[in-house]
Symmetry: D3
Subunit: 252 residues, 6 copies
C-alpha cells in the first residue's frame, strides 16, 4: 500500500514544506531530498527537465523520506498519466481557470470509474508494491494552480470539483494576471486580497491551501495566513543566493 505522508499532514492541518526542482539532475535532486523537506516537486513547467531526467529524479528521491510531486507543463492528460506511472504521488497542474479544466485535470489522475487514467503503472509496482492500483486513486494528490483572473472568478466552481485535494497559488502569474509586476510577495492590495481570498475559500471547501514563496520568511508568513503547503524558494535560487553570499564574504 502506498503511504503518502503529506496527505495525512494536510488532512490534519499540519504544515508541509516542499522543495522545488529546476535542474534536470538526479544527484542534485537527491541532495535536495535529503535536507528535511516533506515533499519534493519536479517543476516540468518552468524547470528545464526532460522526461528521461524526470524519471531518474523520481528514482533518486525515492530513497529519501519525501513525497515525490510533479508540476506538469500543462493540463495535458498524457503527460500527467506518464508522471504518475513514473512514481509521482501528486500532480500540480498550472493554469486551472475553469471547473471543466479542473475536472479534466482530476480525471487524468484517477483510474476508472472515477477518472480516465490509463492503466500501466510501469514503475509504480516496483516502487509501491503489487497492490499499487488498489490505492492509487486514494493516495495521489491533486493540486490545481490558481493564477489567472478567470480562476479567481471561477474559484468556488473549481474548488468544489470532486477529487480535488489542494490548490497551489502561483503569485507571479497571479500578479501579472491582475495587471501588476510579477512578484512572489506582491505588495499590491488587489494581489494580497486575492491570495487571502484563495486561502479562505479553500479552507471553506476543505481544500488544502498551498502557495509558492520566494523565501522561508515569506513561507512563514503564508502559514500564518492559513496556507499549509509552502515552497520556500527553488533550488536554483537557493544555490545562486548562497554562491553570491560566499563570493561577497570572500571579496569583503
Amino acid at each position: 500500500m502506498i503511504k503518502n505522508p503529506i496527505q495525512e499532514k494536510l488532512e490534519s492541518g499540519e504544515v508541509v514544506v516542499n522543495a522545488w526542482l529546476w535542474f534536470g539532475d538526479s544527484f542534485a535532486a537527491e541532495i535536495m531530498a535529503a535536507q528535511g523537506f516533506d515533499s519534493v516537486t519536479l517543476d516540468l513547467q518552468h524547470g528545464l527537465i526532460g522526461l528521461h531526467e524526470a524519471v531518474t529524479m523520481l528514482q533518486a528521491i525515492s530513497s529519501q523520506p519525501v513525497v515525490p510531486l510533479v508540476r506538469v507543463q500543462s493540463n495535458d492528460s498524457g503527460w500527467i498519466m506518464k508522471m504518475l506511472d513514473a512514481g509521482a504521488l501528486g500532480i500540480i497542474c498550472p493554469m486551472i481557470s475553469t471547473r471543466e479544466e479542473c475536472e479534466r485535470f482530476v480525471a487524468a489522475c484517477r483510474y476508472p470509474p472515477v477518472g480516465i487514467r490509463s492503466f500501466g503503472p510501469s514503475r509504480c509496482n516496483a516502487r509501491y508494491g503489487a497492490d499499487y492500483a488498489d490505492f492509487a486513486n486514494d493516495s495521489i494528490l491533486t493540486f490545481a494552480m490558481i493564477e489567472t483572473r478567470q480562476a479567481l472568478e471561477n474559484l468556488e466552481d473549481i474548488l468544489s470539483v470532486p477529487g480535488l485535494d489542494a490548490v497551489y497559488v502561483g503569485p507571479n502569474d497571479l500578479a501579472l494576471a491582475l495587471g501588476y509586476p510579477p512578484s512572489q510577495d506582491s505588495i499590491e492590495p488587489e494581489v494580497i486580497e486575492a491570495i487571502d481570498r484563495i486561502v479562505t475559500t479553500a479552507i471553506r471547501y476543505k481544500i488544502s491551501p498551498g502557495i509558492a514563496c520566494p523565501s522561508g520568511e515569506v513561507a512563514r508568513r503564508r502559514i500564518k495566513e492559513g496556507y499549509r503547503f509552502v515552497t520556500p524558494g527553488n533550488q536554483a535560487g537557493m544555490m545562486a543566493a548562497a554562491a553570491r553570499t560566499a563570493i561577497e564574504c570572500v571579496r569583503g
Copy 2:
C-alpha cells in the same frame, strides 16, 4: 587569441574566487557561472559528471565571464587532453606526489615541443578562434594538487617543474594523509603547518597558491595566509545549506 583573465590576476597577485561544480547539469553550471565567480571548475574527480555532461557544462558557462577549469579524475593524459579539447583553460590534477608525476601532468597540457598534448582542438577553434593552437601553451593553467605526505616531502621538487603554474591544496586529503580526520579547516597543528608551508614555498617558487575551502569565511582567512586562488565551498554544499536554512526558517 585566448584570453585567460585569471592568469593575469594570478600573475599580478590578485585574488581569484573559484566555483566548484559537482552536478553534471549544464543549467546548474550556467547559474553558478552567472553569480560573479572568476573561474568555474568542473570536478571530475569527486563530482558525478560524465564526459558528455562535462562538454555541455563547458559550453554552458562559455557565455558567462568566467574561466572554465576542470579537476580531472586522475593524472591520465588521455582525459586531460580531452578536457582541454573541450575548452578547459586550466587543469587541476589530483594527487601529484612526485616531480615525475608533475612533469607528466604538465606535459599533457602542452603541445610539442614543450609537452606531449595531441593535436585536435575540436571545440577550441570554434570557441577561442582559429589561432587557438598558437596561444594554448601559454594560456592554459596547470594546477598540481598537493594532498599527500609524499607531496609534502617532494614539495620543492614539484614546485620547480617548468610549466607548472599553480598548486591547489586539498585539505581533506592532506589531513587524512597526515593521520587526522578529513577537514577543510583542520585545527591540527601539523595540518595547519603543512598548509602554511605550501603557500610559503609556492610563493617562493612563483607558483600561484590555491586551496579548497569549506566556506567564504575560511576562504577569506586563506587569502590572509597568502593563498590567491580560493574555492569557497561547492555547489552541492551551498544548495543544501540554503535549503536547510529555508526549512528551519519555515518550521521556526
Copy 3:
C-alpha cells in the same frame, strides 16, 4: 522503397508476434529485436522512454529484421509525426473512442492530400531510401486502440475509417472501463464478450485485429480467437519473471 513485412503478413492473415519495450535503452531494445519477433513496439505511453531515447532505440533495432512500431502517448499529431520522421513504420494510438478521433489519428500518419502529415522525413531517407515519401502513405500501419466503453459503442464507426489498418485491444483499460479489475486476461464475461466482439467486427471490416497479452500462452489463445497481431508480455515483465525464477532456483 520501404518494406513493411508485417503489413504483408497481416494482409495475408498470418500471425505477427510483437515485442513491447518499456526501457528507454537502445541496447536492451537491440537485444529484444534480436530474439525473433516480427515487430518491436516502443511504448511511449506507459513505458519510460524520452524522445532522445526513442530515436536511439529506433536506430538500434534497425539492424535487426523487425518492423519498428511506436505506441504514442496520446493522439497528438505532433508526436505521431515526430515518431514517423524518426523511422517508425506504424503507430499504435491509445484511447480511440470516436470516429473523429480515429480520423484525426489516421490523418496524422499520411501526407496530403490523404492526410495532414507535415513533410520532413529527417531519418527516413537515410534509413529507407530517397523515395521514402513516395511509399510512406502505403507502408505505414495505423493501429487504433480500443479500450474504452465509448469505443465499444462506436466500434463500427471507428473501424470503417478509411486508412485505418488495425485495431489493438488494451485489455487492462477495457476491463477497467467496463467496471472490472484491470487484467490482460480477464475472466469477466462482459470483458470476454467485448474482446470477442472486437475481433469479429474487425475481421468483418478487414481491419487486422491485435491485442496485448500477459504471456505467450494467452497470446496463443488470442490467435485461436482470431487475433493476428499479438504481444506476449513486455520486456520489463519478461526480465522480472526470469530473474525471480533464477532466484527461486538458487534459493531452492
Copy 4:
C-alpha cells in the same frame, strides 16, 4: 536588456541568414553557430531533438554572436513557453492556418496583459539579465508558418494578428497542400504564385517574410523575390552533401 539583432535587421529590411539544426547535439550546434549565421534555429518539429538536448544546444550557441530561435513541434503553448524560458528569442510555429491559431500562438509568446505566457524565466535571467521580463514581450520574435491551403485562404486574417512579427514559408508542405510533390524549389506555377503572394502580402502588412530554402542559390533568389529571413539548407543536408562530395573526389 535583451538584444535581438535580427529584430533590428528585419525591421530595417536587411537580410537575415538563418541556420537550421536537426541534430540534438550541442557541439554540432556550437560549430554551426560559429560559421557566420545571423540566427540559429533548433527544429523541434522534424529534427530529432529532445527537451534536454534543446536546452544544452541553446546554451552552446549562447557564446556565439547569433540569435537563438526554435521551431516548435506544434502550436502547443506549454512547449512554446518552455523554449522561451530556455532562452529562445523567437519561435517559429508550424501549420498556422487560421487567425485564431495565430492569435493563440502569439499569445503564448507574450506575458500578460498582452498574452498568456506564464512567468518563470528560468534560464533567461542568467542569460539576459535581471530585467529580462521587462523587455521579453518586445524582443521575442514570432514567426507563423504558412504552409497549408487554408493558410493561403486566411492569409490576410493571419498577417493582421497584432504581435505577429514574421511569416516563414514551408515550401515542401505548401507544395503538398496544393497537390504537388514536396519541393523547396517547386516549379509548379501554383506553388510559385503562392510563395510570391505570401511575400507580397507580408510586406504590405509590415510582416517580415521568411522562407526555407534548399541551398544558398535558392536563398539568394528568394531574397530577390523580397524574402528577408532565409535558411539556406539544414545541417544534416549540408554535412551529407559535403561528405558525398569528398567521397566522389577520393574515388574519382
Copy 5:
C-alpha cells in the same frame, strides 16, 4: 552508519544471490533490484554503462533492499574511487593476477591510513549519513576477480592481501586463459579443477568465494561446491531467454 547486509551474510557463511546489470538504464535496474536479489552489480566492464548512467542506476536501486556493487572496467583507482563516491558498497575488480595488483585494488577502496582513497564522498553522505567516512573502510567489500593463469599461480599471494574480502571467479575468461572455449559451466577438467581450487583456497584464507553463473541451476551447484556469492545470469540473458520462450510459445 552504513549497513551492508551482504557483508554480514558472507561473514556468517550465508548465500548471497547477486544480480548483474548490462543495460545503462535506471528503470531496468530498479526493476531488477525489486525481484529479491541480495545485491545488484553494475557491470562497467562488459556492460554498456556510462558514468552518468551508472550514477542514476545506483540511485534507482537505493530504494530497494539490495546492496549496490560495481564491477569496474579495470584496476584503475580513479574509476574505483568514483564509483565508491557514487554509492557503491563493494567493488568487483577484473583481472587481478598478482599480489601487487590486488594490493593496489584494495588500497583504492580504503581511506588513509589504510589505503589511498581520496576524500570526497559526494553522494555517500546524502545516502548513508553524515558519518559515512567513519564506517566506509569497514563496510565496503572488495572482490578480486580470479580469471587468468597468472592469478591461479599467485592465488595464495592474492588471497592473503589484507583488506581483501572476497574473490569472484570469471569462468569464461578462466577457461579461455587455460586454453579452452569460453564457458560459464565448462566441462574441461582443468577448468573444473581450477574453480574448485579457488573456492577451497578462498575458504582457507577466510575470503568469501564468489562466481559468475549462467543460470540458477549452475548457481545452485556452485553453492554446493562452497561458493557463497553467486550471480545466476545477467539481465540481458534473462530478458532474451524469456522473450524467446514467449515467442516459441506463441508460434508453437
Copy 6:
C-alpha cells in the same frame, strides 16, 4: 560469422574511404554512414563522444553498409575492450611509439591465447551472431597510429608486431613532433619524407597504410603515394565548410 568488408579490401590492396565522427550524436552518425563510406570511425580521442553516445552511434551505423571503427582515447586496454564489446570491428590506437606499446595494443584486441581480451561480447552476439567469438580475433582490425618522433625511430619494430593490421598516420601530431606547425598537408620536407617512409615501410611489412587527410583532394593524392585507408576530413569540418559556403552564396 562477422563480415569485415574493409579487411578484404585492404588485403587485396583496394582503397577504403573512411568517415570521421566528432559529434556524439547517433542521428548525425547514421546520416554520415549513409553517404557511401566504406568505414565510419568514432573518434573518442579528439571528438567529444561519451561512452553512452558511442554505443548508440555504433548501433545507429549498424543498419548501413559500413564497417564501424573506433579511435580510442589512449592505449588503455579497458576502453579498447569496451569498444569491441560494443561492436567496433577495428580499433585505431593513438600514439603508438614503441614495439611494447604496439604489442599491448594488439593484445587488448584479441582473445587468449593470442591476446588478453576479456570475454563478454555484450552487444556482439546480437549484432554479429552467436559465433562471434570464433571469428573475432581474425576479423577485428588493429590500426597503430604513427605520429611521434619515437614512433619513426621504432617504425620497423612497431610494424613487425604480429597481429598488427594497419598503421594510421596522424599528420598534425607528426608535424608537431618534428618541430613544425600542425598540418594535415604539411609542406615541410621532413614531414613529407616521414609520411612517405611510413607508407613504404608499411607496404614492405604487409601492413595496410592509412592516413588522416584534410580533404578529398589530399586523400586522392595520398592514394597515389600508396596509402589505402584514407579519411577525407571529419564531419565537423565538412558541415562547417558547407555552412560557410552557403552563407557566402546568400550574402554574395
